[in-house]
Assembly symmetry: C2
Homo-oligomer: 315 residues x 2
């Protein structure tokens, strides 16, 4: 394995949010925190532990404040939460979350069905969230991420114009986003589109960190990661076993599979700081507690290659 200069890639677990919100089972808070602790111990240092949405809509996320409090006891873990609007951000700030992942949709139809807001109103909300966070003392101030769902297409609107995505990414950055996430929410993306769109955002935004949130719904998730790496994306969301899926497409996978992502990256010479064998044990732990759910991915079933060696950070 050759080392790549500046070869650090951040992998972020979103299964506790994107995974658990998609399934009927409500995971007990103690199990969620156990999961966080185990995956952090395996080397995953950014975990989206839940979301601040109305508990009536997503009872699976009703304990997010409690999970944030528990996860913050793990020194070195970035405890992030999804927030869909200003109200959610206020709750996240009150809960002392370290990072707010704001998510709005590029598609008007999708944004409306999710948050009952126009895209322009959601952009304005983001400005208010940044302002809210700037009132907090710098040492305690959460990082604010700007995420754009349906960046690669939408089940409601079909094709999403790439220039709209680019414009919104620039707007969120100008409003103060400390990272931009482009999300392929419904698994419509492909490597050519990923290169074009992230490449355009990269050229526009310079050194602002870019993150990708890919779903593997149509099998292209890791292919899209390779394309994103080519144009300077350094942060990737994933979930153990691809937990999640889409309630409207039985058998369709959700997020890209965390353990396969780590295998991909480390095999290519990128350092993730994750102990893959330990991560596969965490997957087994979660799977045992979600017996009715489908878990996906290759490496956990097939095992590590005979000559597999992890990459050392900074190597």
């Amino acid at each position: 394995m050759e080392a790549i200069a500046g070869n650090r890639i951040s992998v972020r677990e979103v299964g506790l949010r994107d995974g658990l919100q998609s399934i009927a089972t409500i995971m007990p808070s103690a199990v969620k925190l156990d999961w966080c602790g185990r995956e952090f111990a395996a080397g995953v240092s950014d975990i989206e532990v839940g979301s601040f949405v109305p508990p009536k809509l997503l009872p699976q996320m009703a304990d997010t404040a409690e999970i944030v409090a528990g996860a913050r006891k793990l020194p070195g873990l970035t405890v992030s939460v999804l927030v869909p609007n200003l109200k959610g951000a206020e709750r996240a700030v009150a809960a002392n979350a370290m990072k707010l992942n704001y998510a709005m949709s590029v598609s008007e139809g999708h944004n409306w069905s999710n948050v009952r807001r126009t895209v322009a109103d959601s952009v304005a909300d983001f400005g208010q969230i940044v302002a809210l966070c700037r009132q907090i003392d710098r040492s305690e101030r959460p990082v604010v991420s700007g995420g754009l769902a349906t960046s690669f297409g939408c089940t409601i609107e079909g094709e999403v114009d790439e220039s709209r995505v680019l414009r919104l990414a620039v707007e969120l950055a100008e409003l103060g986003a400390q990272e931009i996430v482009l999300a392929d929410t419904v698994g419509y993306g492909n490597p050519a589109a990923v290169r074009r769109l992230f490449g355009a955002v990269r050229r526009e935004l310079g050194d602002l960190p870019l993150a990708a949130h890919f779903h593997d719904t149509r099998g292209l998730g890791l292919a899209n990661v390779v394309a994103a790496l080519d144009v300077g994306v350094t942060r990737f969301d994933a979930s153990l076993g691809g937990l999640g899926g889409c309630p409207y497409a039985p058998g369709a996978t959700g997020n890209i599979v965390m353990e396969d992502l780590v295998f991909l990256l480390e095999s290519m010479g990128y350092s993730t700081s994750v102990d893959l064998a330990a991560l596969i044990e965490v997957r087994a732990f979660v799977q045992e507690r979600l017996e009715r759910e489908s878990f996906y991915g290759g490496i956990a079933k097939a095992g590590l290659p005979k000559h597999y060696r992890p990459v050392l950070a900074g190597g």
Copy 2:
């Protein structure tokens, strides 16, 4: 979707060989031919219909001569077969196969366990196969492909030295191979290795067509395809539903999934000439006839994106 100049990519079905040889079920000859006819009608114009190996070893392939004869009645279909040695090539020639896919392993251990030959002896055999074919009248002469298994690692030897793969590719080309196939037989490959190795072979062999035979055992199959496209690979093996797998790794997938491959390529702007909706119907046809086998892949379950449009050849 933007069109790419010179955007033709050939996808080749290997499920009738690599898939059926990996499972216990013996598919009736009539069903094999029905499968060939349906997949050809969906636009797949190169099908590896079987292999000429000793029927005692692989009874699933005992009817390969009959399948070749039947498949040759489909005008425009390239009827190819796998041959592991000179004897197999003689049977393939007698059966009137249009293309001989010679497969030997780079790994001595793997080659010995498969064909009881040293790698050097297998190279010499390839020379004899080319000589055999050159005795045939040009209008009837089969195309000879040189395939290198375990090019990206081996379950017996672990890491496989890339310089050995490159040297063998050059040797097969000098002996008369009309295409070079690098095979990730056990799913050890990764996009960085794919770019390095296919890139090196491309530089060495100029315009000789390069083909990739990837397995999705560890989830990186389509990611490897993207990497291979980057360095000029234009031909890809796959099987419907990823039929195949590895008898030593339960639940591990085999070949990359044909229908997901077509979706990947067409989405990226490459033309495959395949009607994806029709292909998904052929998958269903095969799956109904192999009820005990696992079928993989995303697009057949999740459905085509709302704005999916196939690319026109030469567009």
